[in-house]
Symmetry: C2
Subunit: 277 residues, 2 copies
């Protein structure tokens, strides 16, 4: 544990990343202690929201998966990029060409995709084929004002024990090809984080984000005015601890340890309240 404990001062709400913090993907299993950790946060009266860049399934499937592990989580507590993306498309009257995972397409069912005037990239996994990347490129390059959205900008993540390329890396290929900059919907966008923060009725400085991605989770949280705690689970690599620009508020072994420290730090207040009573 690298922190001095001060990262807990004044924390009134918690944002949690899902994959790599609550459970490991492929082989899919809850991370030891994470089930109890979420329960303890809720029992301590701390509001919790789940801020994920998961785009390989619908929100409902994700919630069902978490419930399957035993997590007590409601759909409205989970903030994935696709609902936020659909809102942006609607507001700006945009018709996307979707390069996304087929399992997530149901969450775009209300969106018009004919005669596209922008491209949306999710974590398409095997759909990131040479043909599909070229198709997305050709649509962008045919537009007078090419608009590219990326659902997150992660570099890589861990799947079945291997690190694999994430949507951000494929986004870079299209950005370079078209000489444009993508708009990110998802972490580390401050706009995206703030939706979840506001949903708790809090300001960013009262919130801590716990994640396994040094850049998207921790860096994004810090840039958005929150605390950012890095866990040594999921995609974590030891080199993350020496990141040249992102200095986490704390580095902990796992979510359970972060919650231990946070709950303990709140104890004196309760004792104080008890004395006052």
């Amino acid at each position: 544990m690298t922190s001095t404990g001060k990262w807990t001062d004044g924390v009134e709400g918690v944002l949690l990343d899902i994959t790599g913090v609550l459970y490991e993907s492929g082989p899919s299993e809850a991370i030891q202690g994470s089930l109890e950790a979420v329960k303890r946060l809720k029992e301590a009266g701390l509001p919790v929201r789940f801020c994920t860049n998961e785009t390989t399934c619908t929100r409902q499937v994700l919630v069902d998966r978490l419930k399957g592990f035993g997590f007590d989580i409601k759909p409205e507590e989970v903030f994935p990029p696709i609902p936020a993306m659909c809102q942006v498309l609607k507001e700006r009257n945009l018709r996307p060409h979707l390069l996304i995972h087929p399992n997530a397409s149901a969450d775009f069912s209300d969106v018009t995709t004919e005669n596209p005037n922008c491209v949306v990239l999710g974590d398409a996994i095997h759909e990131f084929s040479y043909a599909n990347l070229n198709k997305a490129f050709q649509i962008l390059v045919s537009l007078n004002n090419p608009i590219l959205f990326s659902l997150g900008k992660g570099r890589y993540y861990k799947d079945e024990g291997n690190l694999v390329l994430d949507v951000g890396s494929f986004c870079r290929a299209l950005e370079y090809a078209c000489d444009i900059e993508a708009e990110v919907v998802g972490k580390p966008s401050a706009t995206f984080f703030n939706t979840a923060v506001k949903n708790m009725g809090l300001n960013a400085e009262k919130v801590v984000m716990v994640g396994d991605d040094i850049v998207s989770d921790v860096g994004g949280a810090l840039a958005s005015g929150m605390r950012g705690v890095l866990v040594r689970t999921g995609k974590y690599r030891s080199t993350d601890e020496d990141h040249p620009t992102v200095k986490p508020s704390a580095i902990v072994n796992n979510l359970s340890e972060a919650v231990d420290i946070l709950i303990k730090s709140r104890k004196p207040n309760w004792d104080g309240l008890a004395e006052l009573a």
Copy 2:
């Protein structure tokens, strides 16, 4: 013709891009006038070298293809990236993992690829699959000092009438994923251009490069101290004429027009010589 003609002053040698300047790829055919243009350059006593980022076939296949169109070209006049890459690998004792087009692999036959300590990207076309990109990424991320080479850094090119992603775009994906910068072997690397320039026994300021890629050909040539002429064939797009940073020495309709202007600009000297005789 945009130029004032001054780009021809003092030119003593010519570098030509191949695809998009000598011939159009898919459907593969010589560009009108290019056959005669090369012949006229040689007849005028101007040394000519062919500087290409072609990595989808061996140098011999490329030369045979050009001969098939009727071009009078010797293998030693053609400078593709792979021989230069093999030289670098040898000098630095590197063993590459190759993500290249299968048709080019013969030109790497002398290179040890077991237990790789670097990655080489060529224009792998359909081999740029999700699986192969991940494999290259996993090798890089496993190295203490990840080294990535890219044979050129083109954004896109024209194939069968469609613009398709070039090696530079896929390189960007891996650069971002690994947080590294690739070393470019091929255009627009000045080291690469200079090999061909020196082979003519000239200095860069006496040489003009003619190409259809505003960045790799024209921008690269200008940055290397040469003149850079853009042709309106191949991957050329009208927006290239307003490129924010690269200002070509001249823009011509095709190679034939460039050679017309160059040969005519030399006429007065010959007349002068004739008068002196």
